[in-house]
């Protein structure tokens, strides 16, 4: 009986340890990724390498309100994906950042650094701010630029 209880305890502890160490951010990426812990820290919550030779960043973007988390996928040529994992931005202001038409502004070939503009795009690498949500836009631009810099480094 004691042995049974001991085994049960060990199994329970092992299960708890497993759950504790489970990477919750894997829910947002393809499971076939390799975690790159050496790139993590500061704003980079998670960094993964994919089998397609791209890199996925889970990054805290420091928006108008805390809690703006992005997923950025980047390879040698393109920003392949930009998703808003979570946010607390105001719905009718920064909340529009979730819209595909806004996120599409970042996709494709990327410059050394994206720049924010407020009225219209006049050059490659310029991102027109969300109407009424310059701070949120700036936060996302800064976050993506950090990813570009980290990837290039």
């Amino acid at each position: 009986m004691k042995k049974f209880l001991a085994v049960l305890l060990i199994v329970a502890l092992g299960g708890a340890l497993y759950l504790i160490n489970q990477d919750e951010y894997l829910a947002f990426v393809d499971m076939n990724v390799t975690r790159m812990r050496k790139h993590e820290g500061d704003e980079f919550v998670r960094v993964y390498a994919t089998k397609e030779n791209s890199r996925i960043y889970i990054i805290d973007a420091q928006g108008y309100n805390p809690g703006l988390m992005l997923k950025v996928e980047i390879d040698d040529e393109d920003i392949k994906a930009l998703e808003i994992i979570s946010h607390n931005e105001t719905d009718k202001y920064g909340g529009y950042a979730e819209q595909e038409w806004f996120r599409n502004r970042f996709l494709g070939e990327y410059p050394d650094k994206f720049e924010l503009v407020k009225i219209r795009k006049e050059a490659p690498g310029e991102i027109v701010a969300l109407t009424g949500a310059t701070i949120t836009t700036r936060a996302i631009i800064d976050a993506v630029n950090l990813c570009i810099e980290n990837y290039g480094g």
């Binding site: 202001y93 529009y96 038409w101 009424g132």
Partner: protein
């Protein structure tokens, strides 16, 4: 013995335990009381002051002083920009109570501007401030507001959320009327006017729309220097914006919510959507697209549009005569009695006047851009040569040919209402005698200017009997007039109602009975 010893030890221990239990209980009670004291919320405190301008002198009231004033706690109804209503209980101080300390009250002012620390500003009009309290709130639903709203949030019961200004930093009390004129000298169709300016791309959410700069619009169409622009939207929302804000901003002419006033640095809550009119000084801009939302359509024959009667009533304009001007400068005069029977209809992006059958065809002006209400009496411009032509009764017409858009009939009525009657004294030698005469008439150059003739080589003057005289531009000057009065008497000879008179020593070129001018 050992048992007794053990029992003794246990007894002692029990006593100790009992004492310990009592001590622990005491400590717990003490801790609870202390905790209760520690957990009492700290009094609200916020560094800084609320600036209040517009009293005898500008003042600053510290936020902490406001928190310590007598407060109210009431339920307020707020209305979001999408029309959703919500009720919250706010605790705060009435602005009227603050102003009372300085011998003032809300209703003393024309409007009150609320400005947040991030620059957002909104004017609360007299209609609101004279009837409702602005409350400087710092608690909502029993809790101190979040940092994003502190130190104060202006709240007004039953009003739109745009007036609920958070992080209130300054209150400006404005007296008097800020350049809002009800006597417009010009009504400009905004869409047509915009097409004469530079249309720039302006990204608005997901679309790239077209916009004009506010500064360019006013520079081109406004003759008065003003401090502000007044907007009215087709949902009856009204707002006054300071000129420096207008000059930084754009009017988005296409896409969602257009015409819409916005600026890159302007908080979204200060954008003005669906503009119906915007006025500045003596000019009012009217959006026909918004007019279609605001008014019911009227119909004349197969055409639908907006009736002029509705437009004039909206703008509170009444005049005996109006001059309607197209984008190309062509003009037509229409008396109010006729104008109110016409409509403005849109066709292929152009706005055209449609008059009922039986009215003159030239009323059906296409590409209408400007409407000028005419003053019943035209005042002198200050020249010593300008005289009063009101008493003139003769009716004449001059056909003007060679204009960019064809011909134009220039009438005595139009001359009286639009041009200055000037005086010219001549001295002519005839038969070795010097004849001095005093003439009154209209400068040829003024007539050409009225007809938008900016550049010409010569003018052919033709009399009723067919005689023609071509004068080069170099011989037409300020003293070349079309005279209607000779030596104080109106010229009433039907064959010579109007005569070309020049400042020359001989009168051989002074064409009598002018009936036609041809611009070359």
């Amino acid at each position: 013995m050992q048992l007794i010893y053990v029992l003794k030890i246990m007894e002692v221990k029990m006593k100790k335990l009992k004492g310990l239990a009592i001590l622990l209980t005491f400590l717990l009670v003490f801790a609870a009381c202390s905790t209760t004291e520690v957990e009492q919320p700290n009094e609200l405190s916020y560094e800084g002051s609320l600036k209040i301008a517009g009293l005898d002198s500008d003042i600053e009231v510290s936020y902490n002083d406001i928190y310590s004033m007598e407060s109210i706690t009431e339920e307020f109804l707020g209305i979001s920009s999408s029309g959703e209503e919500s009720k919250n209980t706010y605790t705060g101080v009435k602005l009227n109570d603050v102003l009372a300390l300085y011998g003032a009250g809300q209703s003393d002012f024309s409007f009150i501007r609320l400005t947040a620390s991030d620059g957002y500003a909104i004017d609360v009009p007299h209609e609101i401030i004279s009837q409702k309290d602005i409350v400087l709130a710092y608690e909502i639903n029993g809790e101190v507001m979040e940092e994003r709203s502190l130190p104060l949030r202006a709240v007004i019961d039953g009003e739109r959320s745009m007036y609920y200004v958070s992080k209130l930093a300054e209150i400006t009390l404005v007296s008097g009327n800020l350049d809002v004129s009800s006597e417009f000298e010009k009504i400009v169709i905004l869409e047509v006017a915009a097409n004469t300016l530079t249309l720039e791309d302006y990204t608005y959410y997901e679309s790239v729309d077209k916009a004009i700069r506010g500064s360019e619009l006013l520079e081109k169409f406004s003759n008065q220097e003003t401090e502000s622009v007044h907007f009215m939207a087709y949902d009856d929302f009204e707002k006054t914006e300071m000129l420096n804000v207008i000059n930084q901003g754009y009017i988005k002419m296409t896409g969602e919510n257009s015409p819409l006033f916005l600026a890159p640095e302007l908080p979204k809550g200060m954008h003005t959507k669906n503009i119906l009119t915007m006025d500045s000084g003596d000019v009012v801009f009217l959006s026909m697209h918004s007019a279609h939302e605001y008014f019911e359509e009227s119909q004349i024959g197969e055409f639908v549009g907006i009736s002029f009667e509705n437009i004039l009533r909206l703008l509170n304009i009444s005049s005996e005569m109006y001059t309607l001007e197209a984008a190309d400068g062509f003009q037509v005069d229409i008396p109010q009695s006729d104008l109110v029977q016409t409509i403005i209809s849109e066709s292929n992006g152009s706005f055209r006047v449609r008059a009922p059958e039986g009215m003159p065809n030239n009323y059906n002006l296409k590409d209408l851009m400007v409407i000028y209400p005419q003053d019943p009496v035209r005042e002198s411009q200050g020249s010593t040569d300008v005289v009063d032509g009101e008493g003139l009764t003769a009716n004449w017409e001059i056909q003007v040919d060679g204009l960019v858009d064809g011909s134009f009939t220039f009438t005595s009525d139009r001359a009286k209402s639009r041009l200055d009657l000037v005086e010219l004294n001549t001295s002519v030698v005839r038969n070795d005698e010097t004849l001095e005469e005093a003439w009154q008439g209209y400068r040829v150059l003024d007539v050409l200017s009225f007809l938008k003739v900016e550049d010409f080589d010569s003018i052919v003057f033709e009399s009723g009997d067919g005689f023609k005289l071509e004068l080069p531009a170099s011989e037409i000057n300020e003293n070349s007039i079309l005279a209607v009065v000779r030596n104080g008497e109106e010229m009433t000879d039907l064959d010579n109602l109007i005569r070309l008179v020049l400042d020359t020593p001989v009168s051989s070129n002074w064409i009598k009975g002018v009936v036609r001018l041809t611009v070359k």
